[in-house]
Amino acid sequence: MSKPTIKEKTVFDLVGQEHPGFAVVGDNAAVDACRAEDLPRRQDNCQGMGQVTEVDVVRHYTRLSTFNFDIDRGMYPLGSCTMKHNPKLNEAVAAESYWANAHPYWPEPYLDGHHHIIDELRQDLIEASGFDQVCMTPAAGAHGELTATFMIRAYHHAKGNDHKKIILTPDTAHGTNPASAAMAGFKAKQIPSGPGGTLRFEDLEPFLDDKVAGIMVTNPNTLGIYETDFKRIADAIHALDGLVYMDGANFNAVMGIFKPGDIGADVMHWNLHKTFTTPHGGGGPGSGPIGYNNNLAPFAPDSGDDRSIGPIKAYLGQWGMFIRAWCYIRSLGGQGLKEVTEEAILNGNYLRKGLEGKLHLPFPTATLHETVFTDKDLPNHISTKDIAKRLIDYGFHPPTTYFPILVQGALMIEPTETEPKHEIDRFIAAMDSILKEAEENPEIVKTAPHTASVSRVDETLAARNLDLRWQAPETT
């Protein structure tokens, strides 16, 4: 992308007041005769909201869209976020009227097809994870975490163990883990990772006491490393009647290789918008079903048991994502899903190999689908942020930066299985060239990007002078 020769402001800068706006239906005198005279009408003009012509609307949102980077134009190596190819098939199917316009309160048989899809998807998730049951409702991964932490509290409460108030998380955990624990009323305690980037049993031991309600571990973790002590840790937690939550965000390094249910996890969430190719959509929607074992079943939102935590959202879950995930899974089958994992790992390692010895690698341990590098000992005070922004000029989205937090200046890179070799090679070449620039021409790196629709954005200013909405001239 490059600086657009067309500057596009907000839609409100195009607004007129006299133009009639879009017409959906013509007038029906018989119905209009029943005008709602009994209702008071809003007296303001919706704070100056006006009308834009259809032509301007089409231009505005088409132009704006071109200021975005998207997977369909290039590599989006956001570690942990798993930005993989979003199949066109899924979009076409999900948009079909029968699937898209169904109302959850319609009587059978209008929903037979939908329930059939949901049941198959549930079964497939159970098969892939080794858990006993799945709840489809959570709206995204964090919502799945919340549902699970609610269930964990209900579990302990039912046993009269309300004193179990501690949820342990390694320092590599994603922010949603402690945040979810906190919303469920737990206290989140952070455990330092070992020198290998994994959670070592010995580092955990000091935290083990009767107050521990459970632990939340991402596996493979956010460094892309398999948690080798997972099973042992799980046993120890279980010994305290604690529960083990596995964060399934990295499930594209799990499918067909191991089953979380077999390694001691009691409950886990999926991000259908990561592993199962439903689009990220510039920040959602997602879908975060959870799998769990029978010990937690009574507490599930939809258990029907009086110990159930109750619903965590209205209606049946993110159907629009279910149908996409179903299409993806059926298009691949069990064997295909295993190949996904294998190729995610192949790409992850191939990319790591290409950057090893060029960027500092904080942990020598073998990685699976993603790898974290840092900006340690880069010349001329070039930072992770500088590299990230300069990658934009080479036609790439930046990797995940400064996460996990324990790693100073982290650059977390995940190509995913849907990146072709030639694209990864292009990425490595871009990195080589940027590192050369860092030596010879640091200014160009520090002032990057130079080819995006805007230059480096001043985020501090945004927080200082808060401007969160358009104001109509007359209302200001």
Partner: protein, 435 residues
């Protein structure tokens, strides 16, 4: 694997570069005893034409006419909404943490926040929540932050959508807040605020929905000025026509604005409030700023409230939210404009009255005397078999309330929109012909 980008040729080169003979060699860190044996028993691969054939075989029929609303409304989506929102630049991009590559999405959120504020009559709004029910739960959690020393109780109108209420009760049960419901007046269908000002002001929050679940527009006259009032709207078109609710926090659904019902998910929840409470808000906020060249630019702001920075101290755990649904609503609102949505709102209200009158001619009764917008509760005891008779003709006469509420045995919740408008007479005649 269908979506592999790695040709067999490339695969060999990559393994060679890694100096391994197969991928198995890259899995050494995974203990043998936990490795999965055998194959995943998951059906497929299905080539595309076969998969689509299978899907069409699964499709059962759809109703010819549906009067079911109850929180999710069937409205017409203009063609530009699908065409524009379907562009891959919107669909396949990530949350705009890197503003230089996401100005499109960021401007959209800024516009969405503006539309929410305009329509709710509030000062500011966030960039969307999962849906209306979780937006409400988060709003009460926000109320706890705003009003640290309040009574651990939230008073909730019985006119609140039952699934919203149940969701709220789940969230509250883990933060030690009691949920107490306020009765409806049987005649008007409006909430009876039986509490004195002091009790109201001391509570963590007071929650009303308007139009409420039974379709009645609340007036909230006796809700205290100083109470932390939260207003819920599930039919967003009501915002275009009726005075904004006099509340401190407004939440609800924008599903009505160009978002297909999709069995109830995904949709687009919204939350709006006063500017001084901005730091207590959950969820994403986009602000206007400048770039290094001094040009207008947009970025996510006040992220210090969010989980990826604040972790357990965050205002919420929400991360992936409902971006693409916010986009659809934003494009919809830009295309329709104020006059456009106000016209639809008027036609919805008229249409509901047309059918209400029509049903009353048949001897059915509108249950509540309180004013309604585009949805009302109908007592069909005059014609017990009607719902089933219509069903045989693939007409769904709204939502039967009997299994959901005591004392509403023959009642149905009937929603009318512009989709019933142009053919209203024909539809009504068909119904009459079956009575």
């Amino acid at each position: 694997m269908r979506y592999t980008a790695i040709t067999p040729e490339a695969r060999q080169e990559m393994l060679a570069a890694l100096g391994v003979k197969d991928i198995e060699a890259l899995l050494a860190t995974i203990p043998a005893e936990v490795r999965m044996r055998g194959e995943l028993d998951i059906a497929g691969p299905l080539p595309e034409a076969d998969l689509r054939a299978r899907l069409s075989r699964m499709q059962s029929k759809a109703p010819r006419h549906s009067f079911v609303g109850a929180g999710l409304y069937s409205h017409y989506t203009p063609s530009p909404v699908d065409a524009l929102a379907g562009r891959s630049e919107w669909v396949t991009s990530y949350t705009p943490y890197q503003p230089e590559l996401a100005q499109g999405t960021l401007v959209m959120y800024y516009e969405f926040q503006s539309y929410v504020a305009m329509l709710t009559g509030q000062e500011i709004a966030n960039g969307g929540m999962y849906d209306g029910s979780t937006a409400l739960a988060e709003a009460v959690l926000m109320a706890m932050r705003v009003k640290a020393k309040s009574d651990p109780v939230v008073y909730v109108s019985s006119g609140l959508h039952p699934e919203y209420l149940a969701t709220l009760e789940t969230y509250m049960s883990f933060v030690g807040i009691e949920v107490v419901t306020l009765e409806l007046d049987a005649a008007t269908g409006r909430t009876k605020m039986g509490l004195d000002k002091a009790t109201q002001d001391a509570a963590t929050a007071i929650v009303y929905q308007s139009p409420n679940f039974f379709g009645v527009v609340e007036d909230m006259a006796d809700v205290s000025e100083d109470a932390l009032s939260i207003g819920v709207t599930t039919e967003a078109f009501a915002l275009a026509m009726l005075e904004p609710l006099p509340v401190k926090i407004a939440v609800g659904e924008f599903q009505s604005f160009g978002i297909p019902i999709q069995l109830g998910g995904p949709t687009a929840g919204f939350m709006a409030t006063k500017k001084s409470w901005v730091r207590k808000l959950p969820g994403r906020l986009v602000g206007k700023t400048l770039d290094a060249d001094g040009e207008e630019a947009y970025c996510i702001t006040l992220a210090t409230r969010e989980q990826f920075i604040r972790r357990e101290k965050a205002t919420s755990n929400i991360c992936t939210s409902s971006g693409l649904m916010c986009l659809r609503a934003t494009i919809y609102l830009s295309l329709m404009g104020r006059k456009g949505i106000q016209e639809i709102a008027e036609k919805n209200a008229s249409c509901a009255r047309f059918f209400a009158k029509g049903f009353e001619k048949l001897g059915l009764k509108v249950v509540h005397s309180g004013p309604f917008f585009n949805e009302f509760t109908l007592d069909a005891s005059a014609h017990p078999g009607l719902y089933d008779k219509l069903l045989k003709r693939d007409i769904v006469l709204g939502l039967p309330l009997k299994d959901r509420f005591a004392g509403r045995d023959h009642q149905y919740l009937i929603a009318c929109t512009e989709l019933h408008y142009s053919d209203a007479e024909t539809i009504l005649q068909e119904i009459e012909s079956l009575v």
